[in-house]
């Protein structure tokens, strides 16, 4: 039986300021298949989808949908053509009822101007029953769990009579039960001949539900594979790729034999986010956190820094138990945290380099002890020189610097507080190779000065190059702990893919 291709995207190219987000990417979808789109963050998965749904406009390439070439101009136009998207964050109205959420915008009317409430509620019930969901559809949506809400948004998308359903990270906030239910629905839809594009970073789920897998890396197509023909470990390798560059010969920090425990984390966790994580960190040690995105790395860091409050577990600093309920508590314990999304959580783009660098020092000193402009300028100049921040002067707006230099500004901000513990969440993502090596060098330099570092990264080679020990996270749990020196990438990949540690220690 010949496959009916309902979608073909050929040679898609999208240029963003400074980066090529997509470079000659091909993608196709057959009616009645689930096609997973995999890749690390920034690989171009979302960009490709946004191109298909008309959010971004492509610079080159063509999209053939249902035998005709199309150029989607807006999400609404895409929906009208039969391309529906269910986003990770639920795009429904929490204050409306379930039934209304499914139908709002095309509410059935009776006698012209009156809404047919009975009809709406009955039809919504029927529709959800097809998905084996029996709930009271007259309740407001916010009464139900995220899983049900996700299902409702799928019901809405499906009722629009879509030919292509795009699920963009639909499972990231669902528990196992809910994921299973979602997959039942997906299988049901697949049977009816719908083409489904499934974006996820949960490899297991991709394998369970998909027929084909397409891997993107750095905006390029790595390849598409039949799920039955490829092993998980091979897939992870394809996703991460090999970074051949090694500009600086970096030396991992040497931990003194008599080094004391700087940080002691014991069974720290939040239900549904991270299960009990325990580890210790010695003074001057660099510990790497590996694992796919969403595996609980960032969440763990945020708990230690007090961004989210842990529900259970203890944190000891220098063998003394401390209570960290807010980032300020953490800062007062001499911690520093460079968050993952530097644009959103790190830099303040409209402030100058000087202001960004002196921010935390100022907040530590308190409101009644303001730093003079001169002090700030001295501090900024010192770190601009020390870190080699490429800026014409300290008064330039941080938002106008390149990614690598922005990252250095954040590093400078925290270095200025002279921390004991530095947590770096993906400090090297999205910056060019030279700047990457520079950041790594600075990180190691700080270790040598006695700072303990937690280094979270998706790039295994840089973790292996720098870390004394590697903690591997998988599905919101600590899956294993490997020595940095003697481990190979394969060992880490093995833990990520299979969840069994080869060199775990207590």
């Amino acid at each position: 039986m010949p496959d009916k291709r309902i979608l073909e995207m050929k040679g898609i190219e999208i240029q963003f300021p400074g980066v090529k987000a997509l470079d000659k990417v091909d993608f196709d979808l057959i009616a009645g298949e689930v096609h997973a789109l995999l890749g690390e963050n920034g690989a171009g998965k979302s960009t490709l989808i946004k191109c298909l749904t008309g959010v971004h406009h492509m610079d080159a390439g063509k999209i053939i949908y249902d035998g005709k070439e199309i150029t989607p101009t807006s999400p609404q136009a895409a929906i009208n053509m039969g391309i529906s998207t269910v986003f990770q964050e639920i795009n429904l109205c929490q204050n409306l009822t379930v039934a209304e959420n499914i139908f709002v915008g095309r509410l059935p009317m009776k006698r012209r101007h009156r809404i047919d409430w009975k009809g709406i509620n009955n039809r919504a019930s029927e529709l959800l029953k097809r998905f084996n969901i029996h709930i009271d559809v007259t309740r407001p949506l916010d009464y139900f769990s995220t899983g049900i809400q996700q299902m409702v948004s799928i019901a809405r998308a499906v009722d629009i009579k879509a030919k292509i359903l795009i699920l963009d990270e639909p499972t990231s906030s669902l528990d196992e039960n809910e994921v299973e239910r979602l997959f039942d629905v997906v299988r049901e839809l697949k049977k009816s001949g719908m083409g489904i594009i499934f974006i996820t970073h949960f490899l297991d789920q991709a394998f369970v539900i998909s027929d084909r897998l397409t891997v993107l890396r750095n905006g390029r197509l790595v390849g598409d594979f039949y799920a039955r023909n490829i092993s998980k470990i091979e897939l992870v390798r394809q996703m991460i790729g090999k970074d051949m560059e090694q500009i600086f010969a970096l030396k991992r920090p040497t931990v003194a034999a008599d080094a004391t425990n700087m940080l002691d984390v014991e069974s720290l966790g939040i239900a549904s986010k991270v299960a009990d994580v325990s580890f210790t960190l010695k003074t001057g040690e660099l510990i790497g956190f590996a694992g796919l995105l969403g595996s609980g790395r960032t969440e763990t860091a945020e708990m230690i820094f007090g961004v989210t409050r842990a529900e259970h577990g203890t944190i000891k600093i220098h063998d003394r138990e401390v209570r960290i309920h807010s980032p300020l508590d953490a800062i007062n314990q001499q911690m520093a945290f460079c968050p993952e999304d530097r644009k959103r959580d790190g830099i303040i783009g409209d402030l100058s380099v000087r202001e960004n660098i002196s921010l935390v020092v100022q907040s530590r000193r308190g409101i009644f002890n303001p730093m003079s402009i001169k002090e700030q300028a001295e501090l900024a100049d010192q770190y601009i020189q020390l870190l080699g921040i490429a800026t014409p002067d300290a008064e330039k707006k941080v938002g106008e610097l390149s990614g690598g230099n922005q990252q250095k500004v954040i590093l400078a901000r925290w270095m200025a507080t002279q921390p004991d513990l530095l947590i770096l969440d993906e400090p090297t993502r999205g910056i060019d190779v030279g700047a990457k090596a520079e950041i790594q060098r600075l990180m190691l330099k700080m270790c040598a000065e006695g700072v303990s570092v937690i280094f979270i990264s998706s790039e295994l080679d840089e973790i292996l190059r720098c870390a004394n020990r590697v903690i591997v996270m998988r599905d919101r749990c600590k899956a294993g702990e490997l020595p940095g020196e003697s481990s190979r990438q394969e060992d880490i990949l093995h833990v990520i893919a299979e969840g069994t540690a080869t060199g775990e220690e207590a």
Partner: protein
């Protein structure tokens, strides 16, 4: 109909009644009844419980009530409108100045005011949506503009002396009762006037629009999550502009109603009235953050706000600013209730999640 469907049906009726969002409406009704009971016990002997007292509360506040209908809709979209009282004053001024000084038919003046009021509302809505100016600022601009134009027309109070208009203002229906087969007026004499009818009509219209029209549901959707509403393909721009335009109409009607009440136009009429109107809507359970609000609640919000001055009048010893203090206390109480309800439903959400996964 299988057993499960039956259960869901039964649940759904109970849930509809016990919907946490209605709790605020119930609270408003409950507090109103309590205060009314208090008044009845304290001042029942001097006539607090008469129909006349009850209807007078309507007559004295009908104009605010009319505006509260439009305001409720604006608040549900997550916006706010500070220009209502100013547009009402402008309406009064149009009628008074237009008729008394220029000799134009008062109903022509009202029609003109409607065009201006609806136009201003639509314009403000468009500014809020397309230029992304916060509603607070946009409508503040509208307020100053309307007040300014008012003072420009006349800085003094202008009386209205039109026979037809006065006839409307004086029109009333007495409450009658059947005594020995003959209809007689109740004692003390109680009546409703045009303002009360207008208020009830606008209220019912508002309730119908919100509950049973696409427009009304879009209002809730926009207030619930504007981004989602846009992604769901709802006409967000049209909805917002229409809501402000409708509110403009309500403001004009408030102005007409107030003019019927005081039979004059004055640049400073209803000064600060927009805050009274917002208070009524909020006491009635409308969330300032948008997405939640009911006309029934607003109706009782209006009643609650009106019963306080009535109580103070009956007491006789209290100064009128006690009314402000009592209103403040009420507002605080209801904001407290709202917070509790919101937190409570957030907690319940967790529980609901549990039930669902157990059923599987």
């Amino acid at each position: 109909m299988d057993e499960r469907t039956m259960r869901i049906r039964r649940q759904s009726f109970l849930n509809r009644v016990l919907n946490p969002r209605y709790i605020m409406v119930y609270a408003t009704i409950g507090v109103f009844l309590l205060i009314y009971l208090f008044g009845a016990l304290m001042y029942g002997d001097i006539g607090f419980t008469t129909i006349r007292t009850f209807l007078n509360m309507f007559i004295d506040n009908a104009y605010f009530g009319i505006s509260a209908v439009g305001m409720t809709m604006v608040l549900i979209t997550g916006g706010i409108d500070l220009s209502v009282a100013a547009i009402a004053a402008l309406t009064g001024m149009f009628i008074a100045y237009g008729n008394t000084i220029l000799g134009i038919d008062p109903f022509l003046c009202i029609a003109f005011a409607m065009v201006i009021g609806i136009g201003m509302g639509a314009l403000m809505g468009a500014m809020i949506h397309y230029l992304n100016v916060p509603p607070f600022i946009t409508t503040l601009t509208g307020m100053f503009l309307a007040r300014g134009v008012c003072s420009m027309i006349s800085s003094e109070s202008v009386a209205i002396n039109n026979d037809a208009f006065n006839a409307l203002a004086g029109w009333k229906v007495n409450v009658m009762k059947l005594v020995d087969g003959v209809w007689v007026k109740v004692k003390p004499i109680a009546f409703i006037n045009l303002n009360v009818l207008l208020f009830l009509f606008v209220m019912l219209l508002g309730a119908y629009l919100l509950k049973s029209t696409k427009f009304g549901r879009n209002v809730y959707a926009v207030g619930g999550n504007e981004q989602s509403a846009k992604l769901m393909g709802l006409p967000v721009a049209r909805t917002k502009i229409l809501v402000y335009a409708f509110n403009g109409l309500c403001s004009v009607l408030m102005g007409v109603s107030y003019a019927l009440y005081v039979k004059s136009g004055w640049a400073l009429a209803l000064m600060g009235g927009e805050l009274d109107v917002i208070t009524m809507a909020v006491i009635g359970g409308t969330l300032l953050t948008g997405g939640v609000g009911y006309m029934l609640g607003t109706f009782f919000g209006v009643m609650l706000k009106s019963i306080i001055p009535a109580l103070i009048t009956f007491n006789g010893n209290l100064l009128s600013w006690w009314g402000k203090i009592a209103t403040g206390a009420l507002l605080l109480l209801f904001i407290g209730i709202q917070r509790i309800v919101v937190t409570y439903s957030a907690k319940r959400k967790g529980k609901a999640a549990d039930c669902v996964s157990k059923k599987t």
